[in-house]
């Protein structure tokens, strides 16, 4: 009698199958309730912007908006480029280029964070990789930190002239968005 009860029988199979169907049904009902919170079609539609760089003189910076995020665009001086190139990448806190335009794990050299032939332009997502504040350094009088790039006032993260993290709690370099030069003075982001 007892051994018979322990053997799985055809009714037990029905119970397991029934529960499995209920679980699949519940999960597929739950999914739309979760998925509705992800970026919607109108948000996704704002996928690319074109920016005219011609008014930006050497040493100046502008801030553009892309996907609701500020984009830092700086026309770097010779000295700024040199200080960005003249860095031992292996000694950086984050040695990854963080360039969405490049695949693989390229090292964080200045060349990997700019476009060849346009090395004076540095284009970055202007969001501190710590907790998302906007670093200072775009306006003329801003404090730019000891590496001459950007300085985040929230928790003191300091970035160099290539937007690489040098000091402070931020874990990663400022991201380089995917962008391309359409003409010599115009870029398309996204």
């Amino acid at each position: 009698m007892t051994t018979e009860a322990l053997e799985p029988n055809r009714r037990d199979f029905l119970v397991v199958a029934g529960n499995a169907f209920a679980a699949v049904g519940a999960a597929s009902l739950l999914w739309p309730f979760i998925q509705q919170m992800n970026p919607d079609a109108s948000t996704k539609a704002l996928s690319s912007v074109e920016i005219d760089l011609s008014p930006v003189k050497e040493g100046q910076a502008i801030t553009a908006m892309w996907r609701g995020k500020p984009i830092f665009i700086r026309n770097r001086t010779k000295a700024e480029i040199e200080s960005a190139v003249d860095v031992d990448v292996k000694k950086l806190p984050d040695d990854n280029a963080r360039n969405e335009g490049l695949t693989g794990d390229p090292p964080a050299t200045d060349a990997n964070r700019t476009v060849k032939g346009h090395e004076n332009w540095i284009v970055l997502i202007g969001i501190c990789t710590h907790l998302g504040c906007i670093p200072k350094g775009q306006a003329m009088g801003d404090e730019r930190g000891e590496y001459g790039g950007w300085f985040c006032p929230c928790h003191g993260s300091t970035y160099d002239t290539s937007g690489r993290i040098r000091k402070g709690p931020a874990p990663r370099n400022l991201e380089v968005p995917p962008y391309a030069f359409e003409t010599n003075t115009k870029i398309k982001i996204g």
Partner: protein, 439 residues
């Protein structure tokens, strides 16, 4: 003493008829009128009642504010000003709601420290305690989302910083954190979409909170209230009926608390807030010094204590993740107090060593709060790191070890003995305990 047989006797015919069909009056009588309450409760035990008032006040003012508030990035800031200037008594309702959140947390912190001091988390009150920790988490989530709604600078950047905490998950699995954060935002940055959903959740969570408070009170009434001696109720003379004794005392506490509440709401409504939230949200400019509301400061200090090095330990890219884990652990670890404390004596009144550590823990929390309000630089960072260690040492070392090495003081034999020993040691104070004697 919970689950004792009901002594409710319906008096009217209608009362009898209804009691046989839905004994709700019996339940109210057994839980809040005839319920046996330890006779030695002090004013720290009125904070449960005070918190209930706070919850109801927030729901009442919140529902009416929602009638005039518009949850969209273009209208939110102006609709709050509209409430303050145009809506009848809008200025008052809005102040009561915003000050009410601070008062809610003030009361809950006293409530929690009361629990720590008198061992209210120890067996058999573990489930009661855990429900309390869940309530605190829900309160924090609710308050955080509510602070978003005015869509000022602090609202916007507070949301940005706090939701970005989840991006630390990228350190564990690349892309996971970003996916979670974009799901919370409903976009690639904090926007009106985020505000809209936070409004919905800020409306929902207080009702979830009310449900958990119901379980909290239920669990309390199953195991019975703790009291300053930490002793169990052993005899009828240890207790008085909840009504009118405890209800009257609660009322005194509630009214005293409401005086403080009203003083803040009417005379210094913005004292506990931040002036930057009267500047409309600007996604391109972060205020130089973001500070959360005061009741989050200790946890914020723990989060920020994890910079690229922690007391000399280099953390590198794990700093952010460590900070996030530490901040959440700081709340979650409270739920484990029943199992971390090894002492069999409940009340710190009879624990000479634990008592000192308890007051140092209170000091640690206040110090962390102060450090959270200071910029994250120089000596403040080091101090925050030291106090973060102190915070966790209280739970992980002090609670287990002190319980093992400490010799507790002699405990009174009963609550009654403790009460009477104060009044000269013999006899009953006239008129003080009329009802228990009658039983």
């Amino acid at each position: 003493m919970g689950g004792s047989t009901s002594r409710y006797v319906p008096t009217s015919r209608w009362g009898k008829w209804f009691d046989e069909r839905l004994p709700i009056a019996r339940m109210v009588n057994d839980s809040f009128v005839d319920y046996p309450t330890p006779r030695n409760l002090n004013y720290l035990w009125t904070f449960g009642g005070i918190l209930t008032v706070c919850l109801l006040a927030q729901i009442a003012t919140g529902v009416v504010l929602a009638m005039h508030y518009q949850p969209s990035d273009v209208a939110a800031f102006n609709s709050i000003e509209h409430i303050r200037r145009d809506v009848n008594y809008g200025w008052m309702l809005r102040n009561l709601h915003s000050v009410g959140a601070s008062m809610f947390f003030l009361a809950v912190f006293i409530h929690i420290f009361r629990g720590f001091y008198y061992g209210s988390y120890k067996a058999p009150r573990e489930v009661l305690w855990i429900l309390g920790v869940i309530i605190m988490l829900l309160m924090m989530a609710t308050a955080f989302m509510g602070y978003t709604l005015p869509w000022g600078q602090m609202s916007f950047w507070g949301v940005t910083v706090i939701t970005n905490l989840f991006s630390a998950l990228d350190t564990i699995y690349n892309g996971l954190g970003t996916a979670v954060v974009e799901w919370l935002w409903g976009g690639y940055a904090v926007s009106g979409v985020t505000l809209n959903r936070f409004f919905a959740l800020h409306y929902l969570l207080p009702f979830v909170l009310t449900g958990v408070v119901g379980l909290h009170i239920w669990a309390l009434h199953v195991v019975g209230q703790n009291n300053p001696t930490g002793l169990d109720i052993k005899q009828p003379s240890d207790t008085v009926p909840m009504h009118p004794y405890a209800t009257a005392k609660d009322s005194v506490g509630i009214f005293a608390f409401l005086i403080i509440f009203a003083w803040f709401a009417f005379f210094v409504p913005d004292y506990l807030g931040h002036a930057d939230n009267y500047v409309e949200a600007n996604p391109l400019v972060t205020p130089p010094h973001i500070v959360p509301e005061w009741y989050f400061l200790p946890f914020y200090a723990i989060l920020r204590a994890f910079t690229s090095s922690f007391l000399g330990i280099p953390l590198g890219q794990y700093a952010k993740l460590c900070g996030v884990i530490a901040m959440f652990s700081a709340v979650i670890i409270i739920a484990f107090a029943p199992w971390l404390d090894t002492s069999r004596v409940r009340s710190a009144k009879y624990r000479p060593i634990f008592k000192w550590f308890f007051w140092f823990f209170v000091f640690t929390c206040v110090a962390l709060g102060y450090l959270g309000s200071k910029p994250a630089e120089g000596i403040y960072v080091t101090a925050a790191q030291i106090f973060t260690v102190c915070y966790f040492l209280f739970f992980l070392v002090v609670m287990p070890v002190v319980g093992l090495i400490e010799t507790p003081k002699r405990l009174p034999r009963s609550i009654t003995e403790d009460v009477l020993s104060k009044g000269g040691g013999s006899g009953l104070p006239t008129g003080a305990t009329a009802a228990p004697e009658a039983r």
